[in-house]
Structures are given as C-alpha cells and as structure tokens.
Subunit: 207 residues, 2 copies
C-alpha cells in the first residue's frame, strides 16, 4: 500500500506471547537488513497516550461504545499521521503491536459492535491502507488464561469472561480465513522457542 | 426526530452574540412552559471537557485534521449519549450552543475538510438525528471582528483571518439556503434588543 516500507501488524488474545515475540520479529527483520520501526496501539503518539489515560479515567461511569470507538480511531489517525505513514514513506518497515484487526476482534467480536460500523471508520481513517502482513499469535483461550494467571494478573482476565475472549479469538481466526493472502495464523500454544521457530518459517516464506 | 422533546441548535460566527442570546432563547421557551436543557459543544460532558483540554494541549505540534475531527465527533457521541438523547427522551427540549453545523462551517468551510468526510461521521455518530431547528445568528464578518476587538479579545480574531471567517459565514448561509425548512438565519448586526426581537418573531412563528 505504501511507496517504500512494508506494514506488519501483530495480533493475538491475552497470553499469546505478543510482548515476548515482538522483539524477536524486530530482530529477525533487522538481521535481514531491514530498517524497522516498532510501535504499538494506541500509545504510539503523545496524543495516543493522552487518549489512553482518558479512556482509563472514564471507566465509571462508562463512556458510550460509540465514543470509545471514535477515540480509538482518533488515536489511530494520529498514529498514522505522525508515525506509520512517515516511516513507510521513508522506506522503513513498521511492525505494530495491534491495529484495526484488534478493533474488529475486541469491540466487534467481543462486545458486539457490528463489523460495518467498524469498517466505516477504518475506511474513513485509513483510506486504502491495510497491513501488508497480519501475524495472529493463536492459542486456546483456556491456555492463554492460564498463562496470564501464572503471571499474577488475575484481574485482567476474569473467569466469567472466557466467552468474551473466545469470541475475540474466533473473530481473529475468521478474518484470517477470509484473507489468506495477507494473514498468517501462528500456533502460539507451545514454548517461546517453538513459536519463534514457526514465526521464522512464516516470515522467511513471506519475504 | 425524537419521541418527546425538540432539538434546537444555535450557531454563528464570532461576535454574533451567541453567548448573549442563548439565555434569552432559554427564557423565551421557559416562559411558554417548555422544559429546556441548555448545553454546549464540545463541553457538555466530563469527557468532552477532557477532550477539549486535549485539543488545546496539542496545538503544537498540531494534531492531524483527521484526528481533530474524530475527537470532535467522539465528544459529540458522548454528548448525545449522556445529555441530548436522555433529555429528548424525557420530553425536554434541548438548546445546544453549536453542533454539527459548526463542524461543516469551521472545519469544512474554514479549513477545507470536504463536506462528504464530515457527513460520513455525522451519519455514523448521529444516525437519523438532526436538529429540529437551527438558528444562525448572522452578521458581516468585519462587524463581528469589530465587536470581538472591542471586548479586547484580539488574539482570538486576527486580521489576516478575515477570509477564514468569511468562508465560515458563507458555509452557514449556504446550509441554511439548502434547508429552509429547519434553518433560520437571524440578522444579528443590530443591537442586542433588535436581535432579540427578531429571535422572538422567528421562534413564535416556528412554535
């Protein structure tokens, strides 16, 4: 979609190992001589951080789901304008920790916002820009929950929310099935090293 | 558009006397037994105030115009959800100091954002809701500038910006011409009392 660089996003449910694998992907690409900008949603800009604070501060009373979606795409617009587009235009590659697929998965699949509502904002904010490659780190929700519990982050991942995270996972998988050209599902149920081996294979083939 | 109350918005360029006339409109309607909620954009909610601060804090470096527009409509979504819709549903009337027409005038006419870009977000956030009545307080830009200067608020209204405010005024007037059913242009070039007399006449006829 861009003149120069390529745009790669990394997605996955809680406990899939995104934070561990992102530096690995970064290193993998750098070792092949690619100049990589690592960024994340929604905090890639100063405004994004301000919006993130605003989102957290307005948990109670909760803001309208329309408002929340607008704020997410506002942060995305800024992230695109200040970080992603400039890097791609310079010919750098961008690896982004979560992007619009996460909105489809969490707000769409998880909370029931109709996909066409999300797509309208995606088109409005991104124009024709879509990731060149979406890496989905996938594992059964129960296993992800177990990993997060082991880290002692119980509150992030309540037992009664299993259905919520199951819908998120299924949305990611359905999007990957519908777009096999740009999406890759990576089995992240094994060890860190096993997932890295699968990632290397997928990236090697894609390059 | 709503089951119960009616939705009235008040628009106008700087110096048109909006702040002076809003309490008058409020009182006029109350005197006729109407229960009125007076509110304003974008600060009608706690989130709106937070967004306003965020907008002001990000003047330099400036945020992308897409981001700014998204934030405005985010504040509007919250304003609708927390203030406007609940009041209308209770059968109250809502008088709002600026609404989406101001976005068409300032961001559209003033800064050149294409109207279809604004309309996409208007449809997304408002659904079918449009004001039942839009009151546009109109006066020549030079006169508005003179009034603002007399108040000592020079910085808000730079001389070189006259073209900017002229485009805003013309956008308001064009929108009113295209929608004569719901829009009223009120000559606000005279004294406060003259404008009030015109407002009374227009409101009386509309009621």
């Amino acid at each position: 979609m861009s003149a120069g660089g390529r745009f790669i996003t990394v997605e996955g449910v809680e406990g899939a190992g995104k934070s561990t694998q992102l530096p690995f992907i970064h290193g993998f690409l750098q070792a092949r001589g690619v100049e990589v900008v690592l960024t994340r949603e929604p905090g890639g800009t100063r405004l994004g951080e301000g919006l993130r604070e605003l989102l957290l501060a307005h948990r109670s009373p909760p803001m309208a789901s329309d408002t929340e979606l607008m704020l997410m795409f506002a942060a995305r617009a800024e992230h695109l304008d200040k970080v992603i587009h400039p890097a791609l235009d310079r010919g750098q590659w961008v690896v982004c920790d979560r992007f619009t697929d996460a909105t489809y998965a969490y707000q769409g699949g998880g909370r029931g916002v109709p996909a066409p509502r999300i797509q309208a904002l995606e088109d409005w904010v991104q124009g024709p820009l879509r990731p060149d490659l979406v890496l989905i780190l996938d594992l059964p929700v129960a296993l992800g929950m177990e990993r997060v519990h082991r880290r002692g982050e119980h509150d992030r991942f309540e037992r009664e929310a299993q259905g919520f995270f199951e819908r998120i996972r299924q949305t990611y998988l359905a999007r990957a099935r519908e777009r096999p050209g740009r999406y890759r599902v990576i089995d992240a149920a094994g060890s860190v090293e096993e997932t890295q081996a699968r990632l290397s294979e997928v990236l090697e083939a894609w390059l």
